[in-house]
Subunit: 68 residues, 2 copies
Amino acid sequence: MVKTLRPQNYNEVLYVAHYFRKGVTVLMDLSDLSHDEAKQLVDFAAGLVFARRGALGRVDRRLFLLQP
Amino acid sequence: MVKTLRPQNYNEVLYVAHYFRKGVTVLMDLSDLSHDEAKQLVDFAAGLVFARRGALGRVDRRLFLLQP
């Protein structure tokens, strides 16, 4: 199962974290964010993934796959 | 035990992650980084901490405590 999420602002990274922490693979679509916000979410996601020895992949310019 | 780390660049966040992942409380001193790099490390740390249901506290302007 892959959960696709398209955060509308920085705070919505919490949804990404929520699913990821439950062991769900998340496809994170950052198309609706500014460049700066998108960068912040990628850094957050990197930390999230690193903590659980998961994997963070860039699928497209604004699309990232987080695997627990 | 608290491990104090003072990253010199973005890549050195890996040392922070390494200790944190082992269950060590880390005091992260960002004094030597630019504003932008420091911001990136804080976002990374936020993700790291969130993944493990830990706590991220700001001790001082450039000093953060990561508790597993």
